[in-house]
């Protein structure tokens, strides 16, 4: 008995120590094996003015970890690095570029070569230096990734009880860890959708009244920050940005103190940026603090979504841990606000439909509507998802009259929100004027009013176009032509991961956890939810067709998978049934889901974040 008590006391410190030792061993012995077991060296050669080609003889075949080019350039200069063997044959070739803002470039070569040939596209106009080296390197980013990965594995194994009994806490741990990995790995690279726009709005929102745009901020806003490809370039980029983040030479201008509704989704990021600025954190840290604010908000809201779910906590967790959503939450992006608040709103709405005879509690109704409003601030069309509330039975309200009055008031509320997209009441705008000029500036020939006329001119033809587009998109997810899992411009982890994700979603939706209540949506309500999901998807498609496509376009372009994240829960909850019950215990049910989702997240982070930058 004493032994077991002693073991229980030390098992967490023991596990932490094991995680630490294992991570350090892998970092030291595996990632640095060439430095440990082969010769460490540094060979350099001068890059001469006017030369097109520079050769670096390594005096025999050696392992080259990195090649560093230092050269003063006036514009972005492309180069090729050719690896030759002892006989002068080409082994392989790499390409890169030197930014005039950094005057250097590093390639993580990690290959054997006897000679390196650096070839520029044009003759260089200054002297420079090329250095090849093999050395011991302790990468803090790789170490963090290893520690957090093994830490999560230990948490899942040792905290099985927490995972099954309090899945919301397990969700929070996994989401925060995976999100932190993304934040730390992506650094100052702008790899999310329209990130320059989101950073611009966040930065402005972090000030009240007068805005100070330093040169570094202006570069972020105009997407001209040099991109890094490894840790060494990252250090240079961060130092460059820190150097031009000077408030003495900042652009100063005034903005309204009013926070318009379409900017409120940026508040968590803006608050953290403002706090980091007040603490005088380095520029790169300040950016990461802004992203962390977004992640915290997403985790907190989804935590409550998992906690409040009366049914299908597993399904809610799987959807909340969707890698796309965790990625959005770890970047400057309003999607985190949309996805988290709409998930909570739909969970609370489904709770009401599970108990059709129970009166709705006012605070639950307030929470549902508030979540719908906040979730729709950035994309008001999602407010239409709330229209399912109109179908709550009269028994849910104190009286039949109150029920009908509620329906009328809520319809007006939804329409007001959607109308605001075009009406812009805050600036006294008019719908006709907005419609006449609306259309995404990135697409030449896009015009909302013209597109509406086109649709009404041939409604059946558009309906067919819409249905076929939707069908093809869904089919493409499963045939591998299109990828549902995406980390924006970092790419996709692959079709298999999309299949694994959908397998986890289907499993959690179809199979009931043994100790969950048996309440299910009625057939009518399932039909209602499916119609809502289909209608919402059609609206998203149509909005894109109106705003992003040229008038009369035969295809609907611009629809991204992330737009469908808010409808995942209401769709899959309809698959819940009383027949399929997980025969084993609840612990294994949750362990399967959490293990699969954690594995998927960590693999995606490794494949898209760790591999291209730090290996």
């Amino acid at each position: 008995m004493k032994e077991r008590g002693w073991l229980r006391m030390v098992r967490i410190p023991l596990a932490a120590a094991a995680v630490l030792v294992l991570s350090v061993l892998i970092e030291g012995l595996f990632f640095n094996r060439h430095a440990l077991f082969q010769e460490c060296y540094e060979k350099e050669t001068a890059i001469e003015t006017g030369s097109l080609e520079t050769r670096l003889d390594l005096q025999g075949e050696r392992y080259v970890k990195t090649v560093r080019m230092e050269l003063d350039v006036e514009e972005v200069t492309d180069y090729r690095l050719i690896l030759l063997d002892g006989q002068g044959n080409t082994i392989s070739e790499r390409a890169g570029s030197i930014s005039p803002k950094l005057d250097m470039s590093v390639i993580n070569l990690r290959a054997e070569a006897a000679e390196l040939v650096l070839v520029f596209s044009e003759a260089v106009s200054a002297d420079g230096l090329m250095t090849a080296a093999n050395f011991m390197e302790w990468s803090p980013y790789r170490l963090f990734f290893l520690i957090s990965t093994f830490g999560l594995a230990a948490f899942l194994w040792m905290g099985r009880r927490v995972v099954s009994q309090k899945p919301e806490y397990a969700f929070a741990v996994i989401a925060l860890t995976a999100g932190l990995q993304i934040i730390l790995m992506t650094g100052t690279n702008q790899i999310s959708y329209d990130e320059q726009t989101h950073i611009s709005k966040t930065w402005n929102l972090s000030y009240i009244g007068t805005v100070y745009d330093t040169e570094a901020v202006l570069e972020l806003k105009t997407l001209t920050v040099p991109e890094f490809h490894n840790r060494f370039e990252r250090m240079q980029v961060e130092s460059y940005l820190q150097g031009i983040h000077d408030f003495e030479t900042a652009d100063v201008y005034r903005q309204t103190k009013m926070i318009y509704y379409d900017r409120r989704a940026y508040l968590p990021m803006a608050v953290c940026i403002a706090a980091a600025r007040m603490m005088k954190l380095p520029f790169a840290m300040m950016l990461m603090a802004g992203k962390f604010g977004n992640l915290l908000m997403y985790t907190a809201v989804c935590f409550f979504a998992v906690r409040k779910a009366k049914q299908k906590k597993g399904l809610v967790t799987v959807i909340a841990l969707l890698p796309n959503s965790i990625f959005s939450a770890s970047q400057f992006c309003y999607d985190a606000c949309v996805n988290s608040f709409l998930l909570l709103a739909m969970v609370l709405t489904a709770n009401e439909f599970f108990t059709p005879k129970e009166r709705v509690r006012p605070r639950n109704m307030a929470a549902i509507i508030l979540c719908l409003i906040v979730g729709s601030y950035a994309k008001p069309v999602y407010m239409l998802m709330g229209l399912v509330l109109l179908f709550l039975g009269n028994e849910k309200f104190p009286s039949k009259r109150a029920a009908w009055m509620f329906r009328a008031a809520f319809t007006v509320l939804c329409l007001s929100m959607v109308y605001e997209v075009l009406g812009k009441s805050a600036v006294g705008g008019s719908v006709t004027e907005t419609l006449a000029h609306a259309g995404d500036i990135r697409t030449e020939g896009a015009n909302m009013l013209g597109q509406i006329r086109h649709i009404f001119g041939a409604p059946f033809s558009y309906a067919w176009q819409l249905l076929s587009s939707m069908f093809v998109r869904i089919a493409d997810w499963f045939t591998g032509k299109d990828q549902f899992l995406m980390y924006a411009y970092l790419g996709t982890p692959g079709t298999l991961c999309t299949w694994i994700f959908f397998a986890a979603v289907f499993f959690s939706a179809l199979y009931r956890c043994p100790y969950e209540r048996q309440e299910c949506l009625s057939g009518g309500n399932k039909a209602l939810f499916v119609i809502m999901v289909f209608g919402m998807s059609a609206v998203v498609w149509t909005v894109l067709y109106l705003s992003f496509n040229t008038v009369g376009s035969p295809v609907i372009d611009g629809v991204q998978n992330r737009y469908f994240t808010p409808v995942l829960f209401p769709f899959f909850i309809c698959l819940a049934n009383r027949r399929l019950v997980w025969k084993r215990n609840g612990e294994s049910y949750h362990m399967i889901l959490f293990t699969v989702m954690t594995g998927l997240l960590l693999y995606t982070n490794f494949r898209l974040g760790m591999m291209p930058y730090y290996l």
């Binding site: 006012p362 104190p398 805050a426």
Partner: protein, 219 residues
């Protein structure tokens, strides 16, 4: 007191909704004036060359553009006076607009001194006027030097013609246009949207509340 607060939630919610409705009405009746700085011509395209129009005492630069429905409150032409010169004079702007009959009418005059500490600046010239300055607007810009001043500032233009703009220097059409921002005023309704939502939200919540037994029913 506890009874008043806790057992009358429904009444408090309806009161909140009524207050939000009042804010909505108040916000729509009393708009707030907001100023916006708009770019007319400030970003140079590839190959576009800067030119300078020296504002000697006998030079007048006429400039016209269409502000559409926006009400113009002032303009910011780009003036350059070099690092050695310390201008002591003022930029004067006369403005004309179109009346309802399509006739060009004189609308007023604005002026602004040049900041001696700078070398170049988009100098803001407020345009005092009666009525709204919108639609087709024409400006006559000249420089009134200080006593003894011999080095004159220049207005910065480029060789690119901006659509719907016209620059005339000493009665000759100029092959390009001035670098210029303009400032517009407009009415804003910052609380309108939120007041509407809060009002409807509170109504929805109140409608899902049970009437409190006893006192509230009597009330």
């Amino acid at each position: 007191m506890k009874d008043l607060i806790l057992n009358r939630k429904r009444i408090w919610t309806w009161t909140g909704a009524a207050l939000a409705a009042l804010v909505f009405v108040w916000s729509s009746l009393f708009p707030k004036t907001a100023y916006d700085t708009r770019e007319l011509h400030v970003r140079l395209e590839d190959g576009e060359q800067e030119r300078e129009i020296v504002l000697t005492p006998d030079t007048t630069v006429l400039f016209s553009f269409s502000a559409g429905d926006q009400t113009v409150d002032g303009i910011q032409p780009c003036a350059d006076w070099g690092s050695e010169n310390c201008p002591g004079g003022v930029l004067l702007v006369d403005v004309w607009c179109m009346d309802e009959g399509g006739e060009r009418v004189y609308a007023g005059q604005g002026s602004a001194p040049l900041n001696a500490e700078l070398r170049r600046a988009y100098t803001y010239i407020a345009l005092p006027h009666e009525g709204e300055l919108s639609g087709e607007l024409s400006f006559a810009i000249r420089y009134v030097p200080a006593e003894g001043e011999t080095a004159y500032p220049s207005l910065v233009a480029t060789d690119r013609d901006i659509g719907e703009c016209l620059t005339v220097v000493n009665e000759e059409v100029y092959g390009g246009d001035l670098l210029l921002y303009y400032v517009t005023v407009r009415d804003t309704y910052p609380l309108l949207f939120d007041a509407k939502l809060v009002c409807l939200l509170l109504i929805c919540i109140a409608l899902s509340m049970e009437k409190a037994p006893g006192k509230e029913a009597c009330a």
